[in-house]
């Protein structure tokens, strides 16, 4: 009964390939996120989706394309992988944080286990 799951856990691939990472949450949350954690452990938001709609898109290269088929899933597709894409990618979910206070909720973000991507 994992709350936020990601697959695969490890991904090793060659430069130039295209790959996808999948994320699913069973918490009934409205909002899902993708974060990138670099080798220095710095965490930075990449995308945020609310009810399948993109609401945050940081300065991420166009090679990264998130897709949300429904509000329980947010997948990340990466085209033409580069060496600098090597990192740990975390998926997370939460209630809609703008609406949470008005609904009497003080919700937090729940993170998946991460996907370690290595580009050779």
């Amino acid at each position: 009964d994992t709350a936020v799951s990601q697959t695969p856990k490890y991904l090793v691939t060659q430069m130039g390939n295209d790959k996808s990472i999948k994320c699913e949450q069973n918490l009934g949350h409205d909002t899902m996120y993708w974060y990138k954690q670099d080798s220095k452990k710095f965490l930075k938001i990449m995308f945020s989706y609310n009810n399948k709609e993109l609401i945050i898109n940081e300065t991420v290269p166009n090679r990264f394309s998130p897709k949300s088929p429904d509000k329980a899933h947010l997948n990340l597709h990466i085209n033409s992988l580069e060496l600098g894409d090597s990192a740990v990618y975390f998926c997370a979910s939460s209630q809609d944080l703008e609406l949470a206070p008005s609904r009497g909720r003080t919700d937090t973000q729940y993170f998946g286990p991460g996907t370690r991507l290595t580009v050779l």
Binding site: T31, Y33, K40, K41, F42, L43, K44, I45, S48, N50, I55, I56, V88, F90, A92, S94, D96, L97, E98, P101, T106, D107, T108, Q109, Y110, F111, P113, G114, R116
Partner: protein
């Protein structure tokens, strides 16, 4: 965007010692969370604390929003407390976007 600074960057403790981790932020926040990333990489939420004080076992946290800082206290540290502690904040003008600090790496020695 908002700046989030954590201190100290690294901390080594003997088991049983107490410690205080600090998070300073540069703007008003409506959401502040503390996370622990264990040595296996899993990020676990410790506290949701945009203001006030909360306690959970040996851990407690205090946020003074008007002075733009938050503190995480660890008492009677254990080796399982090792890992990286992150502070993350969200602002009123950009909900659903979190800014993470660079973390405090804690190593508790037996």
């Amino acid at each position: 965007g908002i700046q989030v600074e954590q201190s100290p960057p690294d901390l080594i403790l003997q088991e049983g010692a107490n410690s205080t981790l600090r998070c300073n932020f540069s703007d008003s926040v409506n959401n502040l969370q503390w996370f622990h990333q264990n040595p296996w990489g899993q990020l676990i939420n410790l506290f949701y604390i945009p203001s006030g004080t909360k306690q959970n076992g040996r851990l407690s946290a205090t946020t003074v929003a008007t002075e733009r800082y938050s503190l995480l206290y660890i008492s009677s540290s254990q080796t399982t407390d090792s890992g990286v502690y992150f502070c993350a904040v969200g602002t009123t003008y950009n909900f659903n976007k979190f800014y993470f600090g660079s973390g405090t790496k804690l190593n508790v020695k037996p």
